[in-house]
Subunit: 228 residues, 4 copies
């Protein structure tokens, strides 16, 4: 499990999703009651399989002699608690996704590249209030993500990504590998959507029937993409 | 033939035209009545020459024990049926071409980089109707491409590329290698045209005589570019 | 010290921050009264540890037989004189930071990626006057940077970067490595901010409490990011 | 000389200035009365030192058994004839420079990155007339470049670059290496200028005294940049 989390973290800079130490991948084992996550502020080049940090489900390190976990651990922990089917979470500051997060806008589903992975707009949360930021910031970041999905009636497995206003993206999945892939897709559709808006004044997402077609040809029991 | 299709598919991520498994190259042998195409959802790193899938001209795999062909096989098959001179087809989600497809706009011939390969605007299809998407989606995608060329009186050999509205580009050529080259050119002119529009309010393509000059110095019996 | 300055200079092209010979890193040893800097106009490939130039605190080479220091040495020297806590300085022409410098605009703190490193807008200086350019240009460049920080009451350690109008960025830090990292962050937030403005007509920086949270979770005595 | 031209041509794709076979470098030896240039339509990977083509000063190959020279040879030949100090010429379709050429706009000197190499705006020619395109296209391309410099009273050595309307850039220099460097700078300032215009409605170039300072600190008898 440490190995998988390590490999997934290593992919972040390789895929151009993070600079310096800006990003982290975690995985949960709900049976064992543990979350494994990247240590805080450690370079992707110098981190090792063993430096991955094992925490309990509140985000507290299990072992005494350990590196500190990513400062975002409490966001991860809260998301795992509320999003039951999720097994891995990725946080990055990937360039184009951050542009949308900073503009505090959802990313509309302008095309099938988007629809293949995200069933509808990728939502952007409301900005956090002063009291939420000063209190327990990273936990409140998780709470506003959950609030966004609940208020809009979104299924986190059908839309495995969110933008936190003024901050950046989180993605998740059934495995660390899939969660990283979802970060790759998010960054790509963020760039495509920005360019689409530069080319037309229309702000119309693709038709629902095309969204359905592309999403469900890849997901669910009638999926026929891939070797299944 | 499998080897050529394999090599052409491998070039897609190398040339920055696809991420993850988003793209496929096929080639047809009209005498043998077969199409060879990339298997569906398989990584470019793990695919092998042998995993290329041999189909008949309707897109049905010829052999029993085989991987499933790319889900876009029926689009390829329909294009081969109607575009007689075409020997290879490429589908990608390359970033800048998709921006235009999502904006549902033709790419105007703003310069000679475009004119060297595409004789006039690269057309964007109309969006598919609900009935077309829910019925036989991939085949209908091929049909709307053919409809676009027929309605506008375009020669698919003089304009070896199309954008499908809300989706992405298809290119083709006399060989898998040429079809991939055409995808490279399309992505490049898509980026250039976007930037051109950012720099001027004029939306005027180059003059017809310059389009003719550049296209015909590279194509047809009076071509004098290259070693001929 | 020459070794550190050499390594930091080598990172500039590796991180995509400079083309050709456009950039330089220096470090100061205030006890020894020396500044070590890249030689002027020498390729990053051909420079060696020994070709780093040792200057006194006015920017004059200490040794007779030496390469000429970067033409920007006097800017570095003046900044070291006025910004006491600074131990290393980097100058680049990185693409996105230069766009803002040429537009003669501050980079607003649109998000937490910015706030993690820069406590508020990254300031852009006023343009230099004709008399300043013709007199002692590189020294005057340093003086207008100091003027910008003093007039606005900015702490150079809390905002370790500046844009010089019509020219480009300077960053600094407690070490050559940190100063280069700050150049990486500056280039990234410059790109993000440009994209943010393309996506929304709002020009509102993030709330002060979010700026405080992110800046101070990484800096100062209450910092809890990293392994501390 | 073939070796130098070969090396300079090889740098074009390495520096990201060309795709496929879109670009060429030539060098002139005025004493020997020869121009050496890349062969037409040959890949940068498969070309060799020996495949470089030796032409006379009209652009006609000197040897019987030889590859055809780049189709742009007559443009090169005409520029060499009229621009006396020029020893090497580069033609590319580099992405950002082409955006400006397609927008048919000069690139203004928005900053010192530009001023370090180009003394004022990089000019864009008028579009060629139908009669010029159909007659002797490549030669007429050279003539309209010369016309642009003459009409505007520009010195080709002080502004070693031009954009041909609807087509792309040519740069030149005292050596093949310098001409390629000028193509790198042109592509970079084209990108910076585009971004600058996205950030401000001002369209004001830098002050003349700053342009003078930067240009002349690198060029002419009072230059003090580099080890000179």
């Amino acid at each position: 499990m440490k190995e998988r989390v390590y490999q997934a973290n290593k992919r972040l800079p390789e895929e151009g999703l993070v600079k310096l130490t800006w990003g982290n991948v975690s995985e949960i084992d709900r049976d064992l009651g543990i979350i494994v996550i990247k240590p805080s502020g450690v370079d992707y080049q110098t981190m090792t399989v063993d430096s991955m940090v094992v925490c309990d489900l509140t985000g507290t390190p299990k072992e005494a002699k350990t590196l500190k976990p990513s400062s975002d651990i409490k966001t991860h922990a809260l998301l795992y608690k509320h999003f039951e089917g999720v097994k891995a979470i990725v946080h990055t500051h990937s360039t184009n996704a951050v542009k949308w997060a900073q503009a505090q806008r959802d990313i509309p589903a302008y095309g099938t590249t988007h629809a293949d992975t995200f069933y509808g707009s990728v939502p952007c949360t409301r900005p956090l209030r002063a009291s939420e930021v000063t209190a327990d910031y990273e936990k409140e970041t998780g709470k506003v993500i959950v609030e966004t999905f609940e208020k809009r009636g979104l299924d986190p497995l059908a839309c495995p990504a969110v933008l936190t206003a003024g901050h950046g993206p989180f993605t998740w999945g059934q495995s660390a590998e899939q969660a990283v892939s979802n970060s790759i897709v998010l960054e790509e559709v963020a760039e495509m959507a920005l360019g689409t808006e530069a080319l037309t004044l229309e702000r119309t997402p693709i038709a629902d029937y095309l969204l359905d077609k592309h999403y469900f040809r890849k997901h669910g029991e009638h999926a026929y993409y891939g070797q299944g």
